[in-house]
Amino acid sequence: MKILSLCLYQWRGNNITEPKLLASAFELSSFGFFKRKAVQEWCVFISDTLVKRTNESQRQSVKENNYLCHVHNRFDNLACVAVCDSEYTPRVAFALLNKVMDDFNEIYENKLGKLEEYPFEQIGQLLTKFQDPNQVDKLSKIQRTLDETTIVLQDTIEKVLERGEKLENLVDRSEVLSMQSKQFYKTAKKHNSCCIIC
């Protein structure tokens, strides 16, 4: 029951073509030293793709191997993605996404697009706080009752992509992923499972 990464983006409005990463936090201590960098890049890559493929004011949960990615694209040009494992309760994950965006708005209300950098340290603290969903304040959990929009659940990340788009092409074209991650993806695909040597 853990959250791997938490990424906050600015998306739509003010001449933005790509989602702009405002703040991010990662919890990758369960991975070996050599895998951490690759996993971090993958989390950012998946978050990028999901933000682009989620409509405005929509929440989605996408399954990828044994991880579940929760994305919430809000009306005020903010989008937030959390990559968790399959045991983490989705309701708490969406409560976390809401909290991150609310906290960000408290500091930077109406300043989106005007500043260059948005230092937001609370994102790291929230990630560690929410690692144990039982300890999270129960009142705030109940208060953030989900509104009428339902959560869309997707089985694989391929279903989020547009028609004719393939994950391999996205991987190749991506600037976020280093050579290492791309190579890892290709070799993993070849063996049809996680690379045997790795």
Partner: protein, 320 residues
């Protein structure tokens, strides 16, 4: 030959005595100027480029086939490097086992070496079996050390020291000698407990990496045989460590199976002590634990079903 070059570099690193925390495969080339080119070695993290692994493996296998011509030291290093790349290679593992029983391998260092292998491949059965053998050897050697120190005292010729500070009352030793023995036994206990703590942490780590890891959990069960007075530790394990673990890993039924083992073990320990008051309190805890865990309840149901079919009422429930 690339394989040979990497082999000699690895040999260098192992012989230098530096501590290796992790081994991994890297996808980026290391700069030519770095100290351990073509290997990556920083802060205990050792990495080999994925294109070099095959040549390294071929070279080491070739050497291994000629092992009858090699000296003991060379074979030790060879098997170490071979097992890094292919930890499932049982012949090399058995070779190391013979050297372990020979006395050429230090059990503690071997346990640290196995940590590296298990962090990458937590579900290889042969590694866990080997780990258990090393642990037994480690405890044997510890006992022998203590016996040797105690036997040096002239008044204690016929004593067989156990781990539990049971000093023979017939001995005419002076109080100084008694204190020395107690200190030695205390040190022994501390060392044993420290080592067992490390083993428990390795088991949890491997269970974290690969959920429902049967081998890690059965190894954890076997560890309890080495403790002399386990009741308080058992209770702590049940109420603190396992509670946290089970909450974090909801669908890990192997962890719940382990909890069941702890409950049974507590019962047997209590029977040994024959204290009825404590028994009642633990009965309450027993039922509270069951009512909190749905999976455990199901497992218990299945056990009682199975036992009733066999015709036994089952010790578990008849006493309650």
């Amino acid at each position: 030959m690339e394989g040979e070059r990497i082999y000699t570099k690895l040999q260098q690193i192992f012989n230098s005595g530096q501590k290796i925390k992790e081994f991994g495969v890297i996808f980026e080339h290391v700069s030519v100027n770095s100290e351990y080119y073509p290997l990556f070695f920083e802060e205990g993290n050792l990495g080999v480029h994925y294109q070099n692994i095959l040549s390294l493996l071929q070279f080491s296998l070739c050497l291994f086939n000629q092992r009858s011509t090699l000296s003991e030291k060379e074979i030790l290093i060879l098997t170490k490097i071979l097992l890094l790349v292919n930890p499932g290679f049982v012949t090399a593992l058995n070779k190391r086992r013979t050297y372990l029983y020979n006395g050429s391998i230090n059990p503690e260092k071997e346990l640290d070496y196995l940590d590296i292998l298990l962090a990458r491949h937590p579900k290889i059965q042969e590694l866990w079996i080997y780990r258990f053998d090393i642990l037994e050897e480690y405890f044997k050697q510890n006992k022998n050390q203590i016996n040797n120190i105690n036997n040096k005292n002239p008044n204690n010729n016929n004593n067989n020291k156990k781990e539990n500070n049971n000093v023979n009352s017939n001995s005419n030793s002076s109080s100084n000698n008694n204190n020395k023995e107690e200190n030695n036994n205390n040190k022994n206990n501390k060392e044993i407990n420290e080592r067992l703590e490390k083993e428990f942490s390795i088991c949890s780590k491997c269970a974290d990496i690969y959920p429902r890891n049967y081998y890690a959990w059965t190894y954890r069960i076997k560890l309890w045989k080495h403790l002399s007075d386990p009741l308080s530790l058992l209770l702590e394990e049940l109420n603190v460590t396992m509670k946290q673990f089970v909450k974090k890993h909801l669908s890990d039924y192997s962890a719940l199976n382990y909890r069941q083992f702890l409950l049974k073990e507590i019962e047997t320990q209590l029977k040994k002590k024959k204290k009825k008051k404590k028994k009642k309190n633990n009965k309450m805890k027993y039922w509270i634990c069951i009512s909190k865990n749905y999976y455990l309840f199901r497992i218990c149901n299945q056990i009682t079903l199975g036992l009733s079919r066999l015709g036994n009422t089952g010790n578990l429930f008849s006493n309650l």
